[in-house]
Subunit: 213 residues, 2 copies
DNA sequence: GATTAAAAAGTGGTCTGGCCACTTTTGAAC
DNA sequence: GTTCAAAAGTGGCCAGACCACTTTTTAATC
């Protein structure tokens, strides 16, 4: 008995089959999916059921639909985990805190990994941040954190982080204050020198400022 | 101009309105929502649109439907956000190593949190593990890690971990060996005493064994 | 041949109405 | 009061229709 066919609900079955279809036909982000009518025929189900599945994926930001244009596979950046989370779950403060803490878990680990890895902590990108801070006097907070996560090399961690960072969008996607500038410099410099503890200390100091905003 | 009414797509509008309805009528987890036909009439939209919205929320595990019974608000524990996203995110580029590392990131953080928190590290559950190890001589590896994550108190982290643990299912869901027993005891004891560093050291020693399997 | 405008085809958005399967409620017989 | 069958309520699914919008095709013009 195939797991896929013993699904109770058609629309859930369709979600599974869409996943397979995307995989088999190697549909890339941004590319077009078969039309609702074609899917309906190919899968042998009603168009309304296909729509229920597509709309579910759309709510998650996994696909995008253009009226009259078609249905397209969305890019990873557009997944809307957090939008939905904030709508139904993040009502209470506890959940908001969880999102923030989870994001920080990944950031802290990235800092540890980089500090302990010669080839990563000596990367020229860190110097470029110093230069930018010198010239412009400020830097985008989110950019710094993103670069740290990217450099750590764990792509899955990056994806999780990306989702979580959307939620704190306003607090992170802004230029650093004068106060933060010094802390960020300390953090980066410590990281470059492999001083894991100091780097984390600076990071936590920075996050306390971020949180107070 | 009301944000709710300027939505382009009806089904997204309905998702919003459902949220309001749940809030206004104070519908608790497990309680029944109005029927699809009633919602259709109350919101002045077609039943198919209502279904598209409901099916979207069902995919997320935010609501549960019982054929012939009705639609019910799901309990928080049943939300499947991470699971669904992982279906699309993890499947394609599943770098096994990334999954493993990411899982460990959450486990290590949980150990840190527990070690540093008086009320958590002195919980009786840890003693119960010792008792079990004494009597049965072994313990399920996954159970130990799960308890650690749960105790750390970050529900989102737990959700992420749960999903990642599925991939390492075989390596984790088994009884500990004699060699592991001692390491686990060391880890738990260090954690209980608040020796964060020692606990993590034992953990990493344990993971090296797990990885070699 | 290239450009442009109109027509046609394709596609998503939505609604109506129908039928089925299952659950809950109702009400009558006991 | 209990039991059980009928009725009502509800979700599951489908077919068809119409609209709005986009893309492609076609035809006319330059």
């Amino acid at each position: 008995m195939d797991k896929k066919t013993e699904q109770k609900k058609v629309f859930l079955d369709i979600v599974q089959q869409l996943r397979q279809l995307i995989k088999l036909e190697k549909i890339q982000a941004g590319e077009k999916l078969p039309s609702e009518r074609v899917l309906s025929e190919r899968l042998g189900v009603g168009r309304s059921s296909v729509r229920e599945a597509l709309r579910s994926l759309e709510l998650l930001g996994l696909i995008e639909t253009r009226h009259g244009g078609g249905t397209f596979l969305a890019s990873t950046q557009k997944h809307q985990l957090v939008e939905i989370l904030s709508m139904f779950i993040l009502e209470d403060e506890k959940s908001k805190k969880d999102v923030e803490l989870t994001r920080q878990i990944h950031e802290k680990e990235a800092i540890r990994v980089i500090s302990c890895t010669e080839t990563l902590r000596t990367l020229p990108v860190w110097d470029s941040f110093f230069v930018k801070l010198e010239i412009e006097g400020t830097i985008n907070c989110r950019d710094v954190l993103r670069e740290i996560i990217i450099t750590s090399g764990n792509r899955l961690s990056l994806k999780v982080w990306f989702q979580l960072a959307v939620y704190d969008g306003d607090r992170l996607n802004r230029n650093s204050t004068e106060e933060e500038k010094i802390i960020i410099q300390t953090m980066l410099k410590s990281m470059q020198l492999g001083y894991e503890k100091e780097a984390l200390k600076a990071y936590e100091q920075w996050m306390r400022i971020v949180q107070s905003n």
